[in-house]
Amino acid sequence: MKIVVSFKVVPDDQDIQVSGDGSLDFSKAHKIVSTYDLNAMEAAAQLAAANEGSSVVGVTVGDKKIDDSKLKKNVLARGVDELFMTADDACADMDAHATAAALAELVAKVGDYDLILCGDGSADNYAQQVDVQLAAKLGLPVVNGATKIEAGDGFVTVERTLEDVVETVEVPLPAVVSVTPDVALPRIPGMKDILAAGKKPMNVVAAEGTFANAIKVVDCKAPEQADRKLEIIDASEDGAIEKFAAAIKAAL
């Protein structure tokens, strides 16, 4: 079976700086694959390994900077066989509707496929909406919350872990399935994987269409820190435990 895995490239949140006015500065942030999308890649690789003759294609859309050689190799070192990427500033800062439109345009270049996997949610917006919007755009069925996927004949059996129940469902193919982080633990690529990754096909294209956002961002700043008392005591000090206990009682 041919499995497409969709992922997002985001700034590494460890490198985000907060400026004096509270605005967020991403200029020093490395571009990385959004954390939970690594689990989706691993799920794709494991599903491919369990079904002989399968292949995995990675797809992503974003601004020009996502066309990063280290990042592309990292993806292709994780059991992904081929990469399709729209790296174009027309695809910067898109909402779910725009992202789905851009992904649909890119997926059309991949050719036939059986399954599109998405991660649980992106590190930046965590909207959990691109899976659904992409499926709607492509006219495919979609389920989210997948913790197990097994291939059947013309369908996949998916175990979905929801808030109160675990559902087992059959989804006719082709389909879009988004997975939870628990579905599979991402591998740590070895040197051999990374070297081999450099030889795999990487298709980087420009956007053909334009993708308008339906959500307008008014403002995005670091939250104001709650004023905390910051009274820190060492447990070895005399009466420290009693003082701490008294503070808890007073706060109840």
Partner: protein, 295 residues
């Protein structure tokens, strides 16, 4: 102004209908399957009976038909996985994007978190606004309405998902949203048995026990449903006691709205000591039993 509410659990139905009432003079609730609808929450309850073997998600086409008939201006949605699919399909139909996990509204400007709380994003919908809204945002609002029931005709999806089975998840019984006091255990606990110390502290305080990510991912010391932080629970209890938690941003966004925040950690340089009201530097193995005894 007309609001549509999409929700599948009674608590969320009541709260979102109440929230919808604050902006809309007409509130229409869409109820799915055998959901218990609280009394007097909406002007109209548009009920969708689920055919045998259908998943709730596949009610999306029926919801779209209902939306087009009702011509609502705004949609409030419970952030469950089923509802996120339904809302997403409705948004795709309208050329819109859902504004997800809103934590505050100022008129038509909705705030949600960016990078799990590193930033707060204020945004507006260009067309019809569809929001998913978590528990607590509309806690103060009052629902009302005659609950006039209308049965909606099922609109079958083009490619249906088949429900094979549905099994209830056994819950720990603790609803941390309702707990005034929450104790959270983190990586500082070296073994599952050590959680007994946290249990004893909880018992003394009548607290609920939650945890940071390392205790639910990879190991199963505690159920995933009590994980606090990014993509888990976002709590605002009166008292929050973080034990053996370093204070990474990913965890802190889940608890930084607590009224009073207590921290216990053996590393005096742990980031949590810059974000708490009262900090105790010490090893949980000795401090927790002593604290439980002192309370």
């Amino acid at each position: 102004m007309k609001a549509l509410v999409l929700a599948e659990r009674s608590d969320a139905i009541a709260e979102l209908c109440a929230g919808a009432r604050t902006v809309a003079d007409e509130v229409v609730l869409v109820a799915f399957g055998d959901t218990q609808v609280p009394e007097a929450v909406a002007d109209k309850v548009a009920h969708i009976a689920l055919p045998e073997g259908a998943v709730v998600d596949d009610a999306a086409d029926t919801v779209i038909a209902a939306f087009d008939a009702e011509k609502a201006d705004v949609v409030f949605v419970e952030p469950t996985k089923h509802m996120k699919v339904v809302a997403g399909k409705l948004a795709a139909h309208l050329g819109a994007s859902v504004i997800t996990d809103v934590i505050a509204f100022e008129g038509d400007v909705a705030t949600n978190m960016f990078f799990g709380g590193v930033g707060m994003k204020k945004q507006k919908a260009a067309g019809v606004a569809i929001y998913t809204v978590g528990a607590g945002v509309f806690a103060e609002a009052q629902a009302s309405g005659a609950n006039a029931v209308e049965e909606l005709a099922w609109v079958a999806p083009a490619k249906a998902v088949k429900l094979v089975s549905s099994k209830a998840i056994e819950k720990s019984g603790v609803d941390l949203f309702k707990a005034d006091v929450v104790v959270a255990a983190g990586r500082g606990f070296a073994a599952k048995e050590d959680l007994k110390m946290a249990d004893e502290l909880c018992e003394k305080l009548g607290a609920g026990l939650g945890c940071s990510r390392p205790l639910t991912e990879g190991v199963d010391w505690l159920p995933t449903e009590v994980y606090i932080g990014v993509s888990g629970l976002m709590l605002s209890p009166k008292v929050y006691i973080a034990a053996g938690i370093s204070g990474q941003m990913q965890h802190m966004v889940g608890c930084n709205r607590a009224t009073t925040l207590f921290a216990i950690n053996k590393d005096k340089n742990a980031p949590i000591f810059k974000q708490c009201d009262f900090g105790l530097v010490g090893d949980i193995n000795t401090v927790l039993p002593a604290l439980t005894a002192a309370l």
